[in-house]
């Protein structure tokens, strides 16, 4: 079981995700055209609030266990951050980043579960995630073909 979990974490999420995204974004210009602090101050402030809320949430759910409170808080922060990115991004790549952040939060929650998920069910979850990635990449490619290239520039990403 541990081997499968490690495989899922390191091969799928740490290698496959970045590789697929880099490959699909291959010919998109990555020059930043935003001001790091000034224009996106509200976003930074929101993220600060999310981190604060996540930490309080973790502490609230596990008041006697600081490690678990930290883990739960981190998962909540990842989910809320993913949500925030999804909510304020108009660009496809930004939204894909939001989805992956959101999914990362879900994976953290899944890993925190004391309840053992059977190996076959865990494998199904991993397969679904791989299909999700392939679908996202498929959509990025379709957007590249269909729309103007300018629409796909990631200058909207502020985080």
């Amino acid at each position: 079981m541990l081997v499968v979990e490690a495989g899922n974490l390191f091969i799928v999420r740490a290698v496959l995700v970045p590789w697929l995204l880099l490959r699909s974004m291959g010919n998109i210009q990555l020059e930043s055209s935003f001001s790091l602090i000034k224009k996106s101050f509200a976003q930074w402030f929101l993220i600060f609030l999310i981190i604060l809320a996540g930490s309080i949430f973790g502490r609230f759910l596990s008041p006697d266990d600081s490690i678990q409170a930290f883990q739960v808080g981190t998962a909540a922060i990842a989910i809320l951050t993913g949500f925030l990115i999804l909510a304020n991004q108009r660009h496809v790549i930004g939204q894909v980043v939001g989805v992956i952040t959101f999914e990362g939060g879900l994976t953290l929650v899944e890993l925190l579960s004391k309840h053992a998920i059977p190996l076959e069910v865990y494998s199904i979850i991993s397969i679904v995630f791989i299909f999700l990635l392939l679908t996202l990449v498929d959509f990025i490619n379709k957007f590249k073909i269909t729309s103007r290239q300018d629409d796909l520039l990631i200058d909207g990403i502020v985080l």
Partner: protein
Amino acid sequence: MIVVICGLVPLVGAMLVLLPVLKGRNAIRLLVAVGLINVVLTGIAAFGRNRGESEFFLFHYLVLDATSLLFLSVISIVFLGITIYIYHRITTGLLPEAIEGFIARVLAFASASVFAVLSNHLIVMWAFLEMGTLAIAPLIGYARGKEGLDASWKYLLFSIVGLGFNFLGLMCICRAIGGNDDDNSISLFIDALTNIPSLGEKMWWELGLAFMVFGLGTKLGLAPMYAWLPDAYDNAPPSITALLSAVQFNCVVLCLFREIAIFKYFDPTLVSEELIVMGVLSLVIAAMNIVTTDNYKRLIAYASLNHAGTIAIGLGVGKTAAYGVVLYVVSNAFVKALLFLTCGNIKAHFGTKKISALRGIIREMPFSGLAFMLGVFALLGFAPFGSFLGEVLMLSSMIEGWYILLFFLICIILTVVLVASGRALFPIIWGDTTDAASKKSEPWLSNVPSILFIAVLVSLGIFTPEPVTALLQEVATALSGR
């Protein structure tokens, strides 16, 4: 084991379509054959099942009980109708012939839907729902350009988030069940959870339950996460809209049924309140949009939102409304499939989706006009259709349960929807045409799905065979929980 084959047949079909030997018309014939085989297999499974019993397959991961049988029957019949419609569209040149990818995805979606309906494990059910979503999402924008692509992307994002919340809820339930001791043997098998004496830590499972209902509500298109629904339903090809609204919608409703049957026992008010709030909000939003839209396909999409809201309220009201909810859900699957497919025929003939541009279709397209008229009657909850009976049963349950304010609120909203839909859709059917109407013969094949769906709808309202009534009652009893 027959029902397992029912799920495997479309999957094998999807793989075969991708082979070089099955191209063009052969691929389309295979699609119809799969639809037909699934209906036959479901019929055999239904006749072979003993009333009140559950059969388990594949190490307990799949189950054939009353609920899964009812939904399997509904999606199999609807799927057959849709395959015939796709066949007609392709053979008459309304869709490109080289659509092996399209057919493979439709078949993969059908397979995922069958397995989602048969699942006896909450995570496995979630996984099949997600697989179905991933299979069908690219088809929403099929041959529809940038607008279609945007709609399918929106659908995908909302679905991922909705199902993500459902998964998060499941993990919270896991944490609640397994949090107090080292016993990991408690599983998320539905039959095991149905008899579980306690869910453990209340805070965790309440949180989980709230997430699950919110997540499935998003997938059903309930407010506040409904924004994907009108765009996706409007932009998708008619066959895909019918698959989304009648097949996938019912798979998600089944998932909601299963979760409610398990968890309502532990906290009836939490589930009821969340469902009623989401339902009422959906009804209000649907009514406002039905009044203002000038697109008949979009109007029916908003009517679907209205239905989702009514179902959520019915589920929130609880035990006494259970039979009405089940009947309403089954009827609406056929109503939506009928209407969206007929919309496709009308759009193909007139080339417009604008309400103001269409008048008197019944004179120009007698059969499609008649099918559209009957579909609209069923949509608006007129007698003798099953949706009428379902709605009446739900409303009377509200009175029985002393949900008086809710009853009046729903009556007002439903009246607004009735008047607004009638004002927009009736002139399309009977209105005076400005040009000389040219009566045109319609290909018989385009009418086969409509005849099939109308027959089922009328039968549900006027004469329901005893085994079907017994099955509906069994599902209603299961939905009421412990």
